[in-house]
Symmetry: D2
Subunit: 142 residues, 4 copies
């Protein structure tokens, strides 16, 4: 991605046998698991809070849309990198973008995005993003 967000994090991941399919490569749905691993790392490391704790504080971020483009296959036992960036804050949503790279961080294997609603855990209704959530990450951008 030409303009990957400045607020980003990289996470290494080893491809397991269970993530592959009969074509000998990583099954396409597994990339959404990779995105989630990257997103969790992003929230924990850059936000300073586990996503689980965020849910305990009453805010959930369910996925409203997910998209992935597959460039090159990843294979068993490969060490890949998951790059995660926070692209956009909406009034009641946020958008993450992702890139999956090979071990040398050179070849782009896949890229995608997820759009998340902000929801009140107590009643499941959409709510405006609380300022404390946005605040977690803004510190990092300064």
């Amino acid at each position: 991605m030409k303009n990957f967000p400045a607020l980003e994090i990289w996470l290494a991941h080893r491809v397991s046998y269970g993530e592959t399919d009969a074509m000998g490569v990583v099954y396409y749905a597994e990339y959404l698991h990779y995105f989630e691993r990257g997103r969790s790392e992003f929230i924990r490391e850059l936000g300073g809070m586990s996503y689980g704790l965020m849910e305990e504080k009453g805010i959930a971020l369910p996925v409203r849309e997910a998209q992935c483009r597959y460039r090159r296959p990843a294979r068993y036992d490969e060490r890949i990198y998951i790059r995660t960036g926070l692209q956009e804050w909406g009034r009641a949503s946020m958008t993450f973008v992702y890139e999956i790279y090979d071990e040398r961080k050179e070849a782009l294997l896949a890229e995608g995005m997820t759009l998340h609603a902000c929801v009140d855990v107590a009643n499941g209704k959409p709510v405006r993003l609380p300022s404390w959530v946005q605040g977690l990450f803004e510190k990092k951008q300064e």
Copy 2:
């Protein structure tokens, strides 16, 4: 299994691509998913109650032990059968057994068991199996 329990149920299942691995066959952990599908069908059809409703009534049956023997591989797009039987009631546990067959119900592909504790959902503690749970299935055995 020579003495498969009389209280049993068969469930057909189509092997998806996502269940296979790079060896071209169903990945070994997927068989525990098959067992769970069979178990859910057993509880719903023979017990007359979804396992989800059982949890709402306050009783969960978390797995304490699982075991599987793999005889022959299953492949993409195969239609297999999951045979599930209720083998034993403990004071605070129950044991299910399983067999996985090919489309003709002839070749045994895998067999296994799961041992479940009976737990009070409210506090997570083990409890004696309520008589209403056992009652659900005993009607069927008469």
Copy 3:
């Protein structure tokens, strides 16, 4: 979808416990598994050929892009419907679209698409879609 393709198929699917996550609903990556189940059914039933046999004949259809919009959550033990349609033939690609419905086929739970390249299994290179592949489905459209 207002204009769902005429060449379509519906597949029933029971949500398993293993497909849910800690939020109590179906995990977002599972929808790509559902799409694949629908696509396999489409190829087998409307094309008259298993996708596995297509691969044996030398043609693979790896996913180049996948997208999903999540409308309402699906839950454990729900019986859902996977609607699959063939939306477009490219010179060397094809596009499927999907809708996931609740048991009554009324509430739309999710919708999405997958774009597939046409690849020669022997060397992994993209090739023009063979006329026999397109022919499998055109019979059905007449």
Copy 4:
């Protein structure tokens, strides 16, 4: 396990949201994925060879039996440890044992085993374990 094999390795793993289920804990089949991650690490680090390379050299180690006992649940975002040991060499098989621990390596969450046949990739038939396979690990035991 009182007598865990001396030839062992520990692997850290972060529990993802996709590994949890509606009970809020890691789904029981995921532990077989953990075992596989541990086993792959064992072969790569102690054997000095990726399991994938072993398959390229003509030897596969399909699982013939798997077993797991579940002690305490693991939860989203927990950092757990997968301990893997090589317990036994058979004439044409090998047995791995596993323990899953919490972040402090104190609480035992689960334990299990997998029994593997040794198979000739070319024809899928069981074969005696080649001495080079055993040799990979024996160096480490001296």
